[in-house]
Amino acid sequence: MRDRGWIYSGLGLFLILVTYPFWQNLRAGVTSKGPDLRRPAEAKQCVMPVSYMRTSHMDLLASWRENAVRDGVRTFQSADGQTYNVSLSGTCITQCHASKEEFCDRCHNYASVSNYCWDCHVDPRQAHGSAR
């Protein structure tokens, strides 16, 4: 009987928490516009179709890692017959995508997906300045 104040406060708090994404996004003026990527300047064709790369690039990278580290296979032949040297820093970043920050990180930060590629590999842009 005397607990209605507590119950309605609790219900109000719950409703605020549940609807938090709605009013937080409206307040911050967030839109559903996705991350802005820096696209490769010259290359028009990735090693695999874009739809595959969007959903499954980690499978490709993982298989490359497997092949290179376990079997020493350091080349990859794409569907259109071109052969690439398998190297994240040397090929992907240097030859096409130019920047980890403006390509990889934009989407990965947007979707809050952390990757451990760069625990071992170096970002060629940063390699000169820092000791690491």
Partner: protein
Amino acid sequence: MELTSLIAVAIPYAAIAIFLIGFSYRIVRWSLSPVPFRIPTVCGQQKSLPWIKAGYLESPWTRMGVVARMALEILLFRSLFRNTRAELRQGPKLSYLESKFLWLGALAFHWSFLVILLRHLRFFLEPVPAFVGAIEAADGFFQVSLPVLYLTDVVILVALGYLLARRIWNAQARYISLPSDYLALALLIGLAGTGVIMRYFTRVDVIAAKQFALGLATFSPVAPENLGVMFYAHLFTLSALIAYLPFSKLVHMGGVFLSPTRNLANDNRARRHVNPWNYPVKVHTYQEWEDEFREKIAAAGLPLERQ
């Protein structure tokens, strides 16, 4: 209306509206229920004389004690921890044995579900708050496979599988199981299952999924293209679950706070609780009666209580 925008836009909004209104309705209805007396069910010594040790958590008599007892119940499911099973042993001997698996399964499921729910905030907030990233890092600590395997994804499926198997294989649980019990489990298994299949097997364009989620959260929804059937299955199962929630036993997420056998202090002896809607009864005490007939009682030679 196209089928995609129906499943991706109309049904989720309808489900959210049903959930918010229905859940509030249930709680408000409960809040109107009269609770005139303290009716806690306890398993500890009531507070009485100072030299009798009272159970502060098991039979709380203060508000803080009640809060502590409720918190332990809600966060750790202590009443389930006390679950027992009865067994006939050596003929007619009835034995009660500990039975912790239901508690373990329930705890594993509920905590995994909470972590998964919080993890999903990464799709609904931009920028993603730091605590979401911290939860993801802890959940994917072992960095198994790519994309990283979340421990809670394994735990929730194992726990839900156990909770379903228990209803099917345990004769007593099967006997008292209703279709609604299976429906709730089926929705949860479907939700977790489609999510796991989408993440680990069929893959999904996560950026497009987040753009769609943000569209929903900013009231400018766009039905996504090329997200695949598994995404729609996941979304539809979620919509069904949250729309069903206010009508089902799953409102225990709010109801657990309102259980009068748990959230009341056991202070019936220490404090007098007067039923607040007691009808004001007109009483005529013996004193008044004696005063009214004083002379006649005295004349008849009968004893008077007050001379």
